[in-house]
């Protein structure tokens, strides 16, 4: 399991990479993709949609089940990663490269964890 230090982590297993003070990219963690198994479908928000902290913003599907993705921050969707719509398996093979969406004008975000705290969080199996 891989826990890079250049991103922050939510309790619902999303990662957040801040580009500057108010723009961030969001993806799912290596732990998340491992738990979900082979991903075969992604449903993303549209550019211009409002992201609200703690609310469902996207979903990913494995062969077995659908899982909701919650936005760890509030702001406006400024970009989505179209590449993963055609190749959802990138979320399995490169979870920290295959971002889902970008939020600009971040007004608030959850209490995010650093890599070490998140690794401990995962070890507890939450």
């Amino acid at each position: 399991m891989y826990f890079p230090k250049d991103v922050s982590y939510s309790r619902t297993h999303e990662w957040v990479r801040m580009a500057d003070g108010n723009t961030a990219r969001v993806g799912i963690t290596d732990y998340a993709q491992h738990e979900l198994g082979d991903l075969v479908f992604v449903n993303l928000p549209e550019v211009g949609d409002e992201a609200i902290m703690g609310e469902r913003i996207a979903d990913v599907e494995s062969v077995k089940a659908v899982s909701d993705i919650f936005s760890p921050l509030s702001g406006r969707i400024s970009a989505v990663n179209g590449a993963i719509l055609d190749a959802p398996e990138l979320l399995n093979s490169d979870p920290y490269g295959a971002w889902l969406f970008e939020v600009r004008g971040v007004t608030e975000h959850e209490d995010l964890m650093g890599a070490e705290d998140y690794e401990r969080f995962c070890e507890k199996g939450e």
Binding site: E14, G37, F41, N43, V63
Partner: protein, 375 residues
Amino acid sequence: MEEPGSEAKHQGAEGKILKTPLYDAHVRCGGRIVPFAGYLLPVQYRGVIAEHMAVREACGLFDVSHMGEVVYEGPDALANLQRTMTNDFSGMAPGRVRYSLMCNEDGGAVDDLVVCKHGEEKYLVVVNAANRSKDVEWMRRHAFGDVTIRDISDDVAQVALQGPRSRAVLSRVVPPEGIPERYYTFVDGAEIRGARCLVSRTGYTGELGYEIYMGNGDAMRVWEALMEAGADLGLVPAGLGARDTLRLEAGMPLYGHEMDEGVTPFEAGLGFGVSMEKGGFVGRAALEKGAPERLRVGLRITGRGIARGGEAVYLGGDVVGRVTSGTHCPYLGRPAAMAMLASAHTAEGTELEVDVRGRRVSAEVCALPFYKRQR
């Protein structure tokens, strides 16, 4: 991210969770263990897609020890099967296997199962794990004459060796006379490393394959013998996840999804498992009533999304049925679903929509199975 739905609904009625005799092998192979039908079983090892593709292109080995096995024995064994099951077993030769339903008085499916004929007075009935207790109670309640009905599930383990290379793997551990030649036949007493097995040419994947039954104490030896024999033929252990995607891609129904006690075999498209010519059986009167008002169909998903079981199917503004199962089919590389629809809308090519969690996704009625192996 939210964790996938709880598997708790799959727990046995008794509530206790059991290990199969192959549990340690699953853990050693890196299996991700979940409770299913009262047993701890691997949902996957390396990954559902890799396991699915291995079964289509090489072969896979499944632990299906959770399945229920019931023996009918005695002079009235056949008469009991004829009365309690929907198919006709009268002309059956020993060594043959036959698919059947077991229906209630309303024609609804109590279970779907296979019957293996050992001899004139002895048959083995293989039932769904989740239905086992209910089935045995039903069988005994309808028993008559000189027959004993024994539930031997707790003593019997079962593995399924499935895929185009399964015969090659099996022939390395079983002499030719131990390998059933034709589909839906079996050989009892085949030896694998000294373990006495029943080998049947049956399966739930749409591929060439075998289901192998043995005593619990022999299961590990048989599993290891097969894994070793198949190592250089691409054999991989395969879990419940791939079992489900394989059966769905092959258009095979699953009890609790495509049928239940409120669905008749004709509605579920399983008329081949019903003989209306053989005389009286439980559920017959109800099954004689006209053409079904709804039917199981295949759905090709033409929009973006994966339809899942329980979702409503629309024709314009009207709900015309429900999805019974749906997934992404790994070999076909696209999603597919099965649905129970009002009969008027079941013609191939009928354009519909599925409500995929609030989003309308277009779909089209198509022929089953989605995948058929090249012989």
